[in-house]
């Protein structure tokens, strides 16, 4: 009896431990972010290999640093097989530490939402959820810039800058992704 109670206690402790860990491991998992972005859609992971020319183009069009020729995106399709949108993962440095964003694009290529997947800087440097809504509907133009279409956050300017650059970079990658041989 005592052994059973001990086992139950161990199991309960393990469950609590796992539950407690799960709370704070990441801000949102990639799966959760995809589910939020594309409910009732199936998603497929795709890896994009940019050529040197494409990488240069992305840098020029976005005005942001392109530190890798690899890009990860998920394509979301509805039950009818129609593309509902794309979700790109972008990891970059904020101040001294990195964050990973999921930039979700609509089928028409405009930004649907931006999710912070991981954020290693102190949370004081992370803008609130409502701030990210500014990116909704944005496309790669002059207005997608801090102090233009995007309002900065006092005390989190570097995060705001990094986020804006990431969104511009993703939109530029998306533009060249349609080219043959990218995937």
């Amino acid at each position: 009896m005592g052994l059973i109670r001990l086992n139950l206690l161990i199991v309960a402790s393990a469950v609590l431990l796992v539950w407690g860990t799960a709370w704070a491991t990441v801000l949102i998992t990639v799966e959760e972010a995809l589910e939020l972005a594309f409910p009732e859609a199936t998603t497929e992971r795709q890896t994009l290999f940019l050529s040197d020319e494409q990488r240069t183009t992305v840098g020029e069009e976005s005005g942001a640093e392109v530190s890798s020729s690899l890009a990860t995106r998920y394509v979301a399709k509805g039950p009818d097989g129609a593309v509902r949108g794309w979700a790109y993962l972008d990891t970059h440095r904020v101040r001294t530490l990195p964050e990973t964003l999921m930039v979700v694009l609509d089928a028409d290529g405009t930004v649907r939402r931006v999710e912070v997947v991981t954020f290693r800087e102190p949370l004081e440097y992370m803008p609130r959820e409502g701030w990210y809504e500014q990116y909704k509907g944005q496309e790669l133009d002059e207005d997608l810039a801090l102090k233009r279409g995007i309002r900065p956050v006092t005390g989190a300017t570097l995060t705001a800058r990094a986020t804006t650059e990431a969104v511009r970079r993703v939109l530029a990658i998306h533009a060249v992704a349609a080219e043959e041989g990218t995937q």
Binding site: S67, R120, G130, E133, R148, G155
Partner: protein, 459 residues
């Protein structure tokens, strides 16, 4: 034969890549960016090699296998870059050839965080006061502060953060070395997190956000020096979080020490966490609305006694009830930046406090202190890259002796109006250069205008 050798070379390269990846993982080290880039280059080369092989007519099934392995490597590298979030992605997508141990590196936290900021200030004072008398003020060039942040992430839930400040460059010349904050956070969820240690009092604008690049002005507003005595930090415990469109912070901290209060304000009442008297505690709370991008509006309040067992001539303790409230708002739209602050402090037992501290006449501590400012700036380079050029204007009014106890008088020199006109230039967001002129008036006519130049950096 040539093609076969090519394939063999390709496979050897792949094996080397796998070994490299495994080595990084097994060492349990944080993935090095250079290593990742190196692997990326290798994958890109291999992909090109596969295309060449396909052109040479190599068997499609062997090419498919190579491509599959390349895909795996690519995914691994992406996961290394994405970090711990990747762990949460279902691994039943399978990573052939790499066991669970290979994924541990994603869970490895990057523990230490280092940052910092600093600013130098050059002040030129007017040789005469507003009433024409000689000011006697000596121009000063001060390396005001050099600050280092150290943080350590024990786990996703437990985080330590600190700010160590060296003021005025040298302790042999009146400078100081202080811990500006050092706290332990228990990060639970957006709406509720705990913090304990030497914490920043969440009042006004600059007390929590005082890096030189985040505020306009070479010299901090006087209201945030004398009524909200930035940088104000005390030992305490509390909670913070965000819900809906609101942010909140609430702490219980050791109270101010009224023995440091003066007619100039509350600044010397800070205990700064240094052997702080803990006879009296205070509660401080702040609520900000941040639900609309560009807008922050809120209020903060501090309530507690500051007597810290200070006694009057009869040996009775003086409580010195202290209440400070502030209202603050900021609005940013494109290049425009508007900011306002109003703060008011009310003190009890001031007459007894004055007597206990030996003050006379117009030296009374204010029974009411009130101040505030309105500030506007416009970045004329807004949206044109990382540079900014912001002319700004700040109007401020402060009176640290708005009301004094009956039988005491106030010094009109403590009723001041300041008009600041300046220009801030940021070649990049982490550097700032400011130049400003301050017209400082007071009701006694003793105001001394000044011209300030400052340089600031953060990293």
């Amino acid at each position: 034969m040539f093609s076969s050798n090519y394939v063999r070379s390709g496979l050897i390269l792949i094996m080397i890549s796998v070994v490299c990846l495994t080595a990084v993982s097994a060492a349990g080290q944080t993935p090095d960016e250079e290593k990742i880039r190196e692997l990326e280059r290798e994958v890109a080369e291999l992909k090109a090699a596969v295309e060449e092989l396909r052109a040479l007519g190599l068997a499609e099934d062997r090419l498919a296998e190579i491509e599959r392995r390349l895909g795996i490597l690519a995914e691994e590298m992406e996961d290394l870059k994405v970090g711990e979030a990747a762990v949460k992605v279902s691994r039943d997508q399978s990573i052939s050839g790499l066991g669970p141990a290979a994924s541990k590196v994603y869970q490895k936290d990057q523990g230490v965080s280092i940052g910092g900021y600093g600013e130098a200030l050059l002040e030129f004072f007017d040789e005469s006061r507003d009433d024409g008398s000689e000011s006697g003020a000596v121009d000063r060039f001060d390396f005001l502060r050099a600050v280092v942040y150290f943080g350590y992430k024990f786990s996703d839930s437990w985080v330590f953060n600190s700010e160590i400040e060296f003021e005025h460059a040298s302790t042999s010349e009146g400078g100081s070395a202080s811990v500006e904050f050092a706290y332990l956070d228990y990060v639970y969820r957006d709406g509720f997190n705990l913090r304990t240690g030497l914490v920043l009092i969440p009042m006004g604008w600059l007390n929590e956000l005082h890096e030189p690049t985040v505020y306009l002005g070479a010299v901090r507003p006087r209201t945030e020096n004398r009524i909200i005595p930035t940088t104000w930090r005390e030992n305490g415990i509390g909670a913070y979080g965000a819900f809906g469109g609101f942010d909140y912070r609430t702490f219980v901290v050791n109270g101010l020490d009224a023995s440091g209060f003066s007619a100039k304000g509350l600044r010397s009442g800070r205990q700064k966490g240094a052997k702080a008297k803990a006879e009296d505690f205070a509660w401080v709370g702040r609520l900000d609305f941040t639900g609309v991008p560009g807008l922050t509006a809120g209020l903060a309040g501090y309530f507690g006694n500051s007597g810290q067992d200070l006694e009057d001539a009869e040996g009775d303790s003086i409580a010195v009830g202290t209440s400070i409230i502030d209202l603050h708002v900021e609005y940013r739209y494109r290049g425009l930046e508007l900011r306002g602050l109003w703060a008011r402090a009310e003190l009890e037992d001031v007459a007894r406090l004055n007597e206990a501290l030996g003050y006379t006449g117009n030296q009374s501590v204010g029974e009411t202190l009130e101040g505030g400012y309105l500030q506007a700036g416009f970045d004329v380079l807004a949206g044109r890259g990382k540079s900014s050029l912001t002319p700004y204007l700040r109007w401020e009014q402060i009176n640290t002796q708005q009301e004094v106890p009956e039988g005491w008088s106030s010094n009109p020199a403590n009723d001041e109006q300041l008009l600041t006109l300046g220009l801030a230039y940021q070649p990049i967001e982490q550097l700032i250069f400011k130049a400003e002129y301050q017209n400082i008036d007071d009701e006694a006519g003793t105001g001394v205008d000044q011209f300030n130049l400052s340089t600031g950096y953060i990293f």
